[in-house]
C-alpha cells in the first residue's frame, strides 16, 4: 500500500502526459479525418485516390511500425528532425485520422441524399450544405463510433512508452524498476487507464442523450 501511495504522484505525472498526447492527437486526428473523408468523397479521381491510399496504408500496417517509421525512419532524413513527443503525437494523430476518415465517410454517406437536395434547392452551395445540413446530422450519428475510436487511440498512447515518452505506462515501468512491485503497480496503472476511459464513455453517452433531445 505504501509503495502504491509513494508511486502515485509519479504515475499521475505520467497520466498527465498520456492525456496531453491523447487530447492533442485526437484533435489533429479529427480534422485530418474530416479532410481525408471529404477528399474521398470529392469528384476528383486523383484526390479520392490519395485519400484512399492514405487510409489503406495506415489501416494496413501496425501502429508500432508507424511509430518506428516516423520516429526512427523519418528522422534519418536530413531535413526532418522530430523530437519523441512530436513523433508520438503525430503517430497517434495520423493513425486516428485514418480511422476517423472512414467513420466520417460512412457517416456522411449514410445521410439521405434528399437532405443535400433540399439544401441545394434552396440555393445553398455544396460547402454550406455540407456544413449546415449534412455534417451536423452525420456527427450525431457517428458519436458512438467516434468514442470507440477515441478510446482505442487513448490505449494506443501506451505504445509511446517504447520510444521513451514518459507516459503512464512508461512511468509504471520505471516505478517497477525502482520497487519491484510489478503486481501492484500494473494494477494501479490499469485502474488509472480504466477510470479515464470510463469517464470518456460517460461523456459520450451524455452527449448522445443531449443530441437526441433536440
Amino acid at each position: 500500500m505504501e509503495v502504491i501511495m509513494k508511486s502515485l504522484p509519479y504515475l499521475f505525472d505520467g497520466l498527465q502526459v498520456t492525456l496531453k498526447v491523447f487530447v492533442i492527437a485526437i484533435i489533429i486526428g479529427f480534422f485530418l479525418g474530416l479532410i481525408v473523408a471529404l477528399l474521398r468523397l470529392s469528384p476528383f479521381f486523383i484526390l479520392r485516390w490519395i485519400a484512399k491510399f492514405f487510409v489503406d496504408a495506415i489501416r494496413g500496417t501496425p501502429i508500432l511500425v508507424q511509430l518506428f517509421f516516423i520516429y526512427f525512419g523519418l528522422n534519418t532524413l536530413e531535413f526532418i528532425s522530430l523530437d519523441r513527443m512530436t513523433a508520438g503525437i503525430l503517430t497517434i494523430a495520423i493513425n486516428a485520422g485514418a480511422y476517423y476518415a472512414e467513420i466520417m465517410r460512412a457517416g456522411i454517406q449514410s445521410i439521405d441524399r434528399g437532405q443535400d437536395e433540399a439544401a441545394r434547392s434552396l440555393g445553398l452551395t455544396n460547402v454550406q450544405s455540407m456544413k449546415f445540413v449534412i455534417l451536423p446530422q452525420a456527427f450525431r450519428r457517428m458519436l458512438p463510433t467516434f468514442t470507440n475510436q477515441a478510446i482505442i487511440s487513448l490505449k494506443d498512447t501506451s505504445l509511446l512508452s517504447v520510444i521513451g515518452i514518459a507516459d503512464l505506462t512508461q512511468r509504471g515501468q520505471v516505478q517497477i524498476a525502482a520497487t519491484f512491485k510489478a503486481f501492484e503497480i500494473w494494477i494501479v496503472v490499469g485502474v488509472l487507464y480504466f477510470i479515464i476511459i470510463y469517464l470518456l464513455s460517460l461523456l459520450s453517452s451524455f452527449l448522445e442523450r443531449r443530441f437526441k433531445l433536440s
Binding site: E117, A118, R120, L122, G123, L124, T125, R140
Partner: protein, 243 residues
C-alpha cells in the same frame, strides 16, 4: 412573360434514356400539372428544371438564363426556384423555424431577426404558427409538407416545383397540403406540379401535361385533356386513374 423554356431536353442514366426530347414553355403565373405513370420520366423532368439532375443535352432557361450553361451560377438560380419533395426532406436536426430561416440566412444573407419574422408570417400562412419550435419528428406528414412549402417560400421564389407533394401522405392529410398549394396558385405563383391528384389538376391547373416514356404525349387545359383526350396512350392512362 415566359418563366421557363425547355428546348430539346434529353436526360439519360447510362443506357437508360429517361427523357427523350422535351420542349415546353411555361408562362409567368401559370400552373402546370404533369401527370404520367411512374417511371415515365415526369419527376426527372421536374428535377432538370433546377438542375438537381444534370442535363444530358438540350437547354433549360429560367427567366432567360440558361441553367445548362457552365457560366451560370446555379445556386443563384435555385434561390428563385423553390422545390417541394415527396418525402419533405426537412432537416431533422433543426426546429421548424430553423428549417425555414436556413436558406434566407445562408444563401441570401438575410439577418436572423428579419428571417425569423418572415418565417413566422409564412408559418401563419400554412397554418402552423404554434409549431415554430417543434422538431420535424414530432409533426404529422401533412404538417411536415406544409413546413417544407414554407421553407421554400422563405426564399421568395418566382417559381415553385412540386414533386409528388402528396404521394407520401396519409389520405386524410392530402387536403391540407393541397389547400396551401391552391392558395399559392391563387396568389399568382408560377407552379410546376408533378402529381397523381387528378382532382387538384382539374381544379387548379391552367395546363396539364401527360408524359409517357420520356416524351410529352399530350398537353391541354385540364377540362379538355381529362374529358376529351386525343391520344390513345392518354386515354389508356386516364381510364386507369380516373375511376
Amino acid at each position: 412573360m415566359t418563366m421557363i423554356q425547355v428546348r430539346n431536353l434529353m436526360k439519360s442514366f447510362g443506357e437508360n434514356h429517361v427523357l427523350k426530347d422535351i420542349s415546353i414553355d411555361i408562362a409567368e403565373k401559370e400552373v402546370v400539372c404533369i401527370i404520367g405513370a411512374s417511371g415515365s420520366g415526369k419527376s426527372t423532368f421536374l428535377r432538370c428544371l433546377n438542375r438537381l439532375e444534370d442535363i444530358t443535352s438540350g437547354h433549360v432557361l429560367i427567366e432567360n438564363v440558361d441553367i445548362t450553361s457552365k457560366k451560370t451560377n446555379i445556386n443563384k438560380v435555385r434561390q428563385e426556384v423553390g422545390m417541394v419533395f415527396q418525402h419533405f426532406n426537412l432537416f431533422p436536426h433543426k426546429s421548424v423555424i430553423e428549417n425555414i430561416i436556413l436558406g434566407p440566412m445562408k444563401a441570401r444573407g438575410v439577418p436572423k431577426i428579419e428571417a425569423e419574422q418572415q418565417a413566422r408570417e409564412l408559418l401563419g400562412k400554412v397554418g402552423l404558427s404554434e409549431k415554430e419550435k417543434a422538431y420535424p419528428a414530432s409533426l404529422s406528414g401533412g404538417q411536415k409538407q406544409r413546413v417544407a412549402i414554407a421553407r421554400s417560400l422563405a426564399m421568395n421564389p418566382k417559381i415553385m416545383l412540386f414533386d409528388e407533394p402528396t404521394s407520401a401522405l396519409d389520405p386524410e392529410m392530402v387536403g391540407e397540403v393541397l389547400q396551401v398549394m391552391k392558395q399559392l396558385a391563387k396568389e399568382g405563383m408560377t407552379m410546376v406540379v408533378v402529381t397523381h391528384e387528378m382532382g387538384f389538376a382539374k381544379e387548379v391547373a391552367d395546363r396539364v401535361i401527360y408524359i409517357d416514356e420520356g416524351l410529352i404525349v399530350e398537353e391541354n387545359e385540364p377540362l379538355q385533356l381529362f374529358n376529351n383526350p386525343q391520344n390513345e396512350r392518354t386515354k389508356a392512362f386516364l381510364s386507369k386513374v380516373l375511376v
